[in-house]
Subunit: 283 residues, 2 copies
Amino acid sequence: MPKSPWTADPAPLLFVGAGFELSGVDPDATPGFHGDKQDGERELEAVAPEVAGLQERLYAESRAGGVRRVLLILQAMDTAGKGGVIRHVVGEIDPQGTKVYGFKKPTPEELSHDFLWRVRAQVPGPGIVGVFDRSHYEDVLIGRVRQLAPPEEIEKRYRRITDFENELSAGGTTIVKVMLHISPDEQKARLAARLDREDKYWKYNPGDLDERALWPEYQEAYQIALERTSTSVAPWFVVPANHKWYARVAVQRLLLDALSRLDPAWPAATFDIAAEKKRLAAS
Amino acid sequence: MPKSPWTADPAPLLFVGAGFELSGVDPDATPGFHGDKQDGERELEAVAPEVAGLQERLYAESRAGGVRRVLLILQAMDTAGKGGVIRHVVGEIDPQGTKVYGFKKPTPEELSHDFLWRVRAQVPGPGIVGVFDRSHYEDVLIGRVRQLAPPEEIEKRYRRITDFENELSAGGTTIVKVMLHISPDEQKARLAARLDREDKYWKYNPGDLDERALWPEYQEAYQIALERTSTSVAPWFVVPANHKWYARVAVQRLLLDALSRLDPAWPAATFDIAAEKKRLAAS
């Protein structure tokens, strides 16, 4: 068994606690990890079966009546790598045990309801690892920056969000919230790459540059959201993401931590094993 | 590049055409494949990126307005390996591009609607590879065997199903229907294994033996469903599944065929590439 490249548990290093300043986070850093891209990719592959195995146990628990589940919330500026995290980290779990939902610009019907309405509908079921690719946080991020709602409504949403997440937590949902943090220069390079490759054009949207122009406003909106909604039951983690391999392995570790703390056990048989063996033999 | 272990395209060998007899299919066979378990696993791994790549193109196409999508319908007797196919074949595709739905015993609300009501709600969106783990075919399988509806209603359903599938096809859905075919002895061995392992108890249900007792009735119901609903736009394939590795690699090949025939292309840029490069450089 090779030595773990983790020199420290990254969770406390990435956790958004008292006095957190987003501007103080270096997007190039790799907190807690000693190694390079190759080490990161090796670690990702080595840990994947552990995460998948824990999810399977959680699913088995749910079949016996358990209500616990995990919800990973991903937020980030464009190109930060949410898709890659989902593909490489969540993609290693049995697809029968995951539920990925991408929140797009709200439809007219969604807008006619409270902002949490469409979110409630996508909460994962028991035993499932759910992923929100964007989430209700858009309503205090682009919502704030673009003034999509009156300021007093935006102000109320932070509390509405923590109430909602407390309710989910009380109902058995372990919430892990991750902001993937890149630098403006890194975003520029990644957008340029999309403009250079025929197989990437579809990922590019001219509107992305309009949002990019509001970088400082978005960082401020993130700072406010992070400090007001990082709670003990629904903590935020800011993951430096200029190195894609680090972002992936760090989110995998946060997911592993969450599942390990749940420590799901195989449920006991709810039938008489010996009797069923006899029935089967006679069948 | 090693020689393909496929000596013949398995699709025509597995296809349910005129004169098909389920009783004539050997569950131990490995049609079209020359090799053993190790060759099968190697092939599965080698072809996975091709399937994932084609799905990504199909997704890109949908972002540019395309409506095409794929629906894999899996039916089988208990323990035949649907879950393993989903984990090992579908699990190699980006989870953002797949949608797996398991149909359980209908709820009272579902029963209050037409039998296709709950099915329509789970049809995959554009660009997605959807998987039905069980499906509307339950309504002519257990529905027929257990007489869950009057015989004349069951009789009508075959036509209702082909109409429904024709409609899906006309709307851009490529349908691939697979019955995983195991022998009663193989099922007995797999059920016995579930009774022998603490981590498998949760998969065992005493009711499974009640269904097992009706094996001939189920085979008859499958025969009728297969011959009445295998159409050119929604063909059935019966995949011998006593060898799990064969079932997986065969379903992968059917999925690859379906995606290859769609031959999705990267969409052209919908913006002025040079102009966007300039805007980006100035940002």
